[in-house]
Symmetry: D2
Subunit: 146 residues, 4 copies
């Protein structure tokens, strides 16, 4: 119960220009949906932004790997919620799981993204900063399935 | 030897606007690089286009799954070749492998994409049309590693 | 007073991936901001969507001309409101004015867009459908400066 | 004669994913076509890149104003040439004109873009660097209509 309330998700409506002449979303844009949700998750749940990580900590997050499962094609005007879950937290890297659902519980996609924190001076892995690791752990714990 | 010559690839130069304030490519765009190469592959190697598949055969290709490995970050002005290989040809689906290399042989990414041919009337799987299956098989055979 | 309340605007936060290595928005995306606001304006104020116009009325809206003035560069994390005003309503065409402001009243851009309703069968101009013209006129009247 | 040969243009084929469910290019992408051509023009004609301007001269180019005329709608697979002409060279700013034509001479769009060179430290206008002004003047002279 409490867990469900904790789950971050971002509402969005599929845009006309995101869809192709077949009338369904052009598939690379699904990846952007997940990235957009992750960016908002940083702002709203972790209390920081990618710009702050970059400019204040001189660090960045490199994408290491992504996997996208397309479950059902999205069409213009469809309203979905794109959520973020945390699969794994390592020393430098975090694996996120982002899913898109409509109000009827129909799932449209599932995206797994592994990011690695790096120092910008050499792109070498950096430990996840404490002010990010702490809310990540709290969120993972609060949203994990029992 | 002959095989290397057969391998389709598309040259592109990383654009300024494809990169983010960290000075490296915004990661979802790597997926678009692979899709762009696949679209050109259809035109140049398979002798058809996605529009033709859609409008003449009333079929489409739904993306089923994609996997992206980020090997090295791309920066503006970097010239790369994005190639297309075929991993598997099923009854309705094809799995492509797209990699990005520079002239020194440095690899930047590897994208695996599985597409499924479908009828547009119901989005049900359709057998790969013969005029597409035939050059797919020929290309796979000509470019497979021994 | 009543007019200010009537003015449609859409909140958005400038995304990391919308900005370029100079740290400011890649300029073509400002045009997309205005188009996104216009799409939402159709849904929320005119009570229809571009998909409905296309699929039910077999009509479309062709962009005829756009003008973009860049007033101040946008950076990641900046929250702005993108509004829509109506400059002119013709027989087939409508000219919209979209501006982006932050909470301090700083303006970032101004986009003027002229769309023409057309029949899809021949791309010839079509009269604005009555169910769209009527709320357009009402909105123009309610939001015009005295 | 010699002038026609001098005119820079970039070939491109309209992509499936650049078009919307109406089967024509989603209009903001036309602006990107012009920007892409301008970026290539810098590399091939002016002998520098936007990254170099930014990182070596600590300068940037802010877009000040753009105007886009849509003359005919573009559809997937259409091959066009996107050219660059120079309308005006000021102290800090340059106005470019970019047009898209197919092989039959049919024009699809015309984009006018005014950029202003600025110092990044304060975004104040900067004189056009000499190594850029010189080839700009030469190109303008070589491609102007008599």
């Amino acid at each position: 119960m409490a867990r469900a309330k904790m789950l971050f998700s971002e509402k969005r409506i599929v845009k006309w220009g995101e869809c192709d002449p077949a009338g369904v979303i052009y598939t690379p844009r699904v990846f952007s949906y997940a990235m957009d949700a992750l960016e908002t998750f940083f702002r709203q749940v972790l209390g920081t932004t990618w710009l702050e990580v970059h400019s204040k900590a001189d660090m960045g997050m490199l994408m290491v790997r992504a996997e996208i499962d397309y479950i059902s094609p999205l069409k213009p005007d469809k309203e979905i919620q794109v959520d973020i879950r945390i699969e794994q937290i390592g020393n430098s890297s975090v694996t996120y799981l982002s899913s898109g659902f409509d109000a009827d519980g129909q799932q449209y996609f599932r995206v797994t993204m592994t990011n690695c924190f790096v120092f910008y001076r050499d792109f070498k892995p950096a430990p996840i900063p404490r002010h990010i690791r702490s809310p990540l752990l709290a969120y993972k714990s609060a949203t994990s399935k029992a």
